[in-house]
């Protein structure tokens, strides 16, 4: 490979691409050519860097100079100042909120500095559409090691020593799962990668696939070898991720070309191949049995779990299903040893595979934090470190309210528990769960009743309808929450919510129903005062529940600044706004249906909520 003085790594993850990073890449190439620098500087497109809120991102290697929020018009300056004169362009560097001095190097930016990368070790460093880049960073070395010097049992043992647990939700020990599948009778078995990533607010798996698809493929090949009698693997990707699907397909094709997939891999008489299947927008298909039904071309309805999928899974054959991030950890465990992996994290897994949480976990940090994006941290780190050190605290100087982990199956964790160490058991203890790694931060402007209603609406809509507690119970709960947010709730409703929750948890067939009440239960537990404000005072403290708001017009602003522009009247569906152009406008409270349209459309902020 040719050596360049400089490498310009342009982020080409979904978020950056949507902000025109590919046009920036073209502009860079053009400018480099204009200045005859083609032999000195190379432009590379990488996967997601994880710092999505700062995109489009460019990192200039080898010094790791980090540029953010780029525009095509900035490119000329970067080439002329940085590439030619060696002076990084200050105004395009990252400056922490509330500070003045920019931090030029990626490795010094707190968002990156505090992370430990295993699953994301290649992020921003390779072109995900080029297998040679992966190989240059030690890719497929673990596979070579496995096929040339390890027996399947030795591979399995290494995974068991590592203490790796499933990253897709339940935290089931991966070694135990592989072993059961290995022991199951049958000479035709399957491995599957769960890339359905349905939790709203989780995008770890998308990022791993877009940034480093081969790490997942390598993990799956190693898994197939360890479990034995596996010739076919599937990757089930949600259709909302077109770029991930494309990158996976390119990676599979390249791996086949290199003889890493297909017949007689590495001339060791080992055959294995992978195909992609697209999901079709049903959250329940992330559940293992529903996912397998979907691959079989059926509606994705879960089945009762008393028959385990490791014994009877896809087409009734023994099947091992793991999450994207779980698979991506496998090659590193093989290369660096299970002991090394187990040295990171909490607890002790040498006796009991459930005895601790080992290695790292990738979280997608989103919502009201300053630094939204992807973070990989050692298990056991506190929520405070994630949200305030890495995440840079709450946006706009607002007050932190709660962090939601585990998606629709998880719960809200309040400020009083912010020093909680993040591991499987600790999160479960406080009523939430690790889940797949979504972490949504809320602040004082969010209403906890509204957030609970949001999740209930989600699970209710996604319930497959097969069993009654989930189908009817979630509907009843949603009705009650709607009543409360519309100002018609009573105190008995809060008791009823708890009763329904417990009934649904106990009697649902799959974990979708079984965990659906968690967001309601945790908000009732930690934010009961907000429910009471809705029920007793008929007020939404955060002004989110519109039916509880009273909209008013500030006459002075309306007249003096807005000059009675009359826009609000046009949009009012109830004819509740009185006034004419150039005059003061009023809202007739008797007619106002409280839709909030006027509040949204007034360009002068003349309308306020009392």
């Amino acid at each position: 490979m040719k050596n360049y003085r400089l490498q310009l790594m342009v982020c080409a993850g979904t978020a950056c691409v949507s902000n025109h990073s590919l046009e920036i890449k073209e502009a860079l190439e053009r400018e480099i050519k204009n200045h005859n620098l083609e032999n000195e500087a190379q432009v590379v497109q990488t996967g997601c860097n994880g710092f999505c809120g700062a995109g489009p991102i460019l990192v200039v290697q080898p010094d790791g100079i980090f540029y953010q929020l780029l525009k095509v018009t900035d490119v000329k300056q970067i080439v002329e100042e940085h590439l030619i004169k060696g002076r990084p362009v200050k105004k395009l560097l990252y400056t922490p909120p509330e500070e003045k001095t920019p931090i030029p190097k990626l490795s010094d930016i707190p968002f990156f500095a505090e992370q430990t990368l295993i699953a994301l070790r290649n992020r921003g460093l390779i072109d995900p559409e080029n297998i040679d880049d992966y190989i240059a960073r030690g890719g497929y070395k673990a596979l070579a090691k496995v096929l040339t010097s390890m027996t399947p049992d030795e591979v399995l043992n290494e995974i068991k020593i590592s203490g790796l647990r499933g990253r897709g939700g339940g935290g089931f020990p991966t070694g135990v799962k592989w072993e059961s599948c290995k022991k199951a009778h049958g000479d035709e078995k399957y491995v599957i990668c769960n890339a359905d990533e349905g939790d709203p607010g989780a995008f770890m798996d998308r990022s791993i696939i877009e940034g480093d698809p081969h790490s997942v493929i390598e993990g799956m090949i190693i898994g197939a070898y360890a479990i034995e009698n596996v010739k076919q693997g599937y990757i089930y990707v949600r259709m909302e991720y077109p770029l991930a699907i494309k990158r996976f397909q390119i990676a599979i094709n390249q791996a086949r070309e290199y003889g890493l997939l297909g017949q007689n891999i590495f001339d060791k008489g080992f055959d294995f191949d992978i195909e992609i299947r697209r999901g079709a927008g049903a959250f329940v298909c992330g559940e293992s049995t529903a996912l397998m039904a979907s691959i079989e071309g059926k509606p994705g309805e879960p089945r009762a779990k008393y028959i385990h999928t490791v014994e009877k899974g896809l087409w009734d054959k023994p099947t091992c299903l793991n999450n994207v991030e779980t698979w991506a950890n496998v090659p590193q465990i093989i290369l660096r040893g299970g002991k090394w992996f187990a040295s990171i994290g909490t607890g002790d897994v040498s006796e009991d595979p459930w005895g601790g949480s080992k290695g790292t976990k990738v979280f997608s940090l989103a919502g009201k934090v300053n630094n939204t994006g992807l973070v990989e941290v050692p298990m056991g780190i506190t929520l405070r470190d994630i949200i305030f050190r890495i995440g840079g605290g709450i946006r706009d100087g607002k007050k932190f309210k709660a962090v939601q982990t585990g998606g629709p199956s998880g719960g809200f964790i309040p400020e009083s528990l912010i020093d909680l160490p993040v591991d499987y058991e600790e999160l479960t203890k406080v009523g939430s769960m690790m889940g797949s790694g979504g972490m949504v931060v809320t602040d004082e402007d969010n209403c906890m009743v509204d957030m609970a209603k949001y999740f209930l609406a989600f699970t209710q809509a996604e319930s497959c309808g097969k069993c009654i507690p989930c189908r009817e119970g979630t509907k009843r709960m949603l009705d009650i929450l709607e009543k409360i947010t519309a100002g018609q709730g009573t105190e008995e409703d809060l008791v009823l919510l708890e009763e329904l929750s417990n009934a649904i948890v106990e009697s649902s067939l799959c974990a979708l129903g079984g965990s659906a009440p968690n967001p309601v239960l945790t908000t009732l537990k930690y934010f009961r005062d907000e429910y009471e404000a809705h029920v007793k005072d008929k007020k939404c403290p955060a002004h989110i529940c519109r039916q509880l708001n009273t909209y008013k017009i500030n006459e002075k602003i309306c007249l003096e600044i807005g000059h009675g522009c009359d826009v609000c009247k046009k949009y009012c569906p109830d004819g509740a706004i009185i006034g004419e152009r150039k005059k003061v406008h009023y809202i007739d409270p008797a007619k106002c249906g409280k839709c909030g349209a006027c509040y949204d459309v007034c360009n002068f902020n003349a309308i306020y909520i009392e």
Partner: protein, 155 residues
């Protein structure tokens, strides 16, 4: 859109080896090509893939991704993932409903726009996010909705 139902079904079924278990993939391809699942094409694909039509309809109604109704030329999807919701996506939906004069889930009379909500599209760093066909926008503000639609009005 002009199409020959038999031709489309035959081509797509063959792409997936005419295997019944690949019916969902075939339906994806039909929808990508024609922007919804027309009845005549489903009947044809049912023959080529040897899957009963009742089962195909069962799948089409089970999965949210499939539509049996034609969609607008521009499919506007407002992301309703948690971060987008927390950052005001419901207000974006109301603003779009006002702007397009349709309800969420419907298509404008001229078949130009459909408005729907979607699950997390995985770019929560840009929340709230709106996806219009292949283009992704974020963060979208209520005040920017009008301008966003104008971009497509002239197309």
């Amino acid at each position: 859109m002009e199409y020959n139902a038999t031709e489309v079904a035959k081509k797509i079924a063959a792409r997936w080896g005419n295997k019944p278990e690949n019916i969902i993939e075939m339906m994806h391809d039909i929808q990508t090509e024609l922007n919804y699942l027309p009845k005549d094409v489903l009947y044809e694909v049912s023959k080529f893939a040897s899957v009963p039509i009742s089962k195909i309809y069962n799948i089409a109604t089970f999965y949210n991704a499939f539509s049996l109704k034609p969609k607008g030329k521009y499919k506007i999807c407002v992301c309703m993932g948690t971060p987008c919701h927390a950052l005001g996506a419901p207000r974006i939906v109301s603003a779009l409903e006002r702007e397009l004069e349709i309800k969420c889930g419907d298509t404008t009379k001229d078949m130009k726009y459909s408005l729907e909500i979607t699950g997390c599209v995985g770019t929560c760093g840009l929340a709230p996010v709106v996806v219009i066909n292949e283009d992704l926008y974020g963060p979208v503000q209520v005040s920017g909705v009008q301008k966003l639609i104008k971009k497509y009005d002239s197309k």
